[in-house]
Symmetry: C2
Subunit: 214 residues, 2 copies
Amino acid sequence: MSTERRSYRREPEERRREALIAAAIELMAEGGPQAATVRAIAERAGTTPGLIRHYFQSKDDLTRAAYAAMMNRMTAESEQATREARDPVEALAAFVATSLRPPVMDGERVRLWAGFLHHVRRDPAMRDVHEATYLGYRDRLQAMIASLPGNEAAEVARPLAIACNAVIDGLWLEGGTLPASFAEGEVERIGLSAVSAILGIALPALPPMPARED
Amino acid sequence: MSTERRSYRREPEERRREALIAAAIELMAEGGPQAATVRAIAERAGTTPGLIRHYFQSKDDLTRAAYAAMMNRMTAESEQATREARDPVEALAAFVATSLRPPVMDGERVRLWAGFLHHVRRDPAMRDVHEATYLGYRDRLQAMIASLPGNEAAEVARPLAIACNAVIDGLWLEGGTLPASFAEGEVERIGLSAVSAILGIALPALPPMPARED
DNA sequence: ACCCTCATTGCACAATCGTATAATTGGCTG
DNA sequence: CAGCCAATTATACGATTGTGCAATGAGGGT
């Protein structure tokens, strides 16, 4: 007579936490902060709302964890891009190119990042993650630039790194939110030539690239 | 015995609409989309929630109007910046400089803009406003660039305009969200030199600038 | 000076939010 | 195989959300 309880599997804590975090990120990317409700997150993760409070002290706590996970993933992806390169110029080109093509340059990612902005402002822990991630990006960019002849001094490398980072971020933003306004590979090409102009060096053309016939 | 009704003034329709739109923008800038509830908006505008539905068919309708108002204001501000300039190089410098200092470069503005991103995705009308505004910015930038010697062809001016626009947007984003990471006037200086490098021309130093002692 | 109209208020409503907590049941332990 | 503990479900609760609608009074037209 009474509705029967749904069956379930016990999962290790880490796996559950990751599943809930992944669900929260997905929903936030698709529909913004308002779409990432505890019920929607639980359903997406294949569980029930109550479980969220078992693994996270509050929804804000889950939001914090989701933000940190997103930032860590983005950092890891861009690090991997430069890992295969041998000389700094090649690393620079790979860094720029991978930042300006999918899956990094993507509308859902831009909106996901944007959706966190107001949380970041309020939560000190999230603000620290934000600042550390941005400065981490910039410092790695600055290190690559400083290894080029004539740019050794920090007073020279710093503004160049800020400028190059801005080019990447700006193109990432526009290419992600308005993909129809650019031709295939155009954003990436413009990014490479802009960085070349700012640094006064020649950058090798895009290393790999999925094919596409015209 | 019963609580007495609050007194009120009748206002012309346009003034009421503007007041409600301004209140919605303020709240959205301060606390994100979740802070801009109908009750909070009404209170900020000095009225009551019911009145919102008298001037706007729904809250989404008010959100649409607020987005259009914000974009129009930003467009108008940047247009005014280039109006005083005589030659195109000076106009370009003014365009870059005003975009990278207050009140345009401001954390609340960046967060306000970011807060609209998910609404823009869903609402076709807002998407059109977004695209038209971005392309408007870019086209005016491209027109200024095309008036420089050697950049007359659109195939040359277009990628340069996209790159310069990206520099401005990226610096606007970073300078707005992490103001403590930059020295006074640094963002503006970097923007001008980056655009100079991309276009291969010399840009005049920042026209005016509020003083500040070290 | 009165009246009529509509801008404005006040309130009620269903839906949905995050949260708290009791009831169950999966799965390791002895 | 029995039993216990904690991972998980289910349900309830108060607060808040956008919205619908009737009552009201401000202020211009006559």
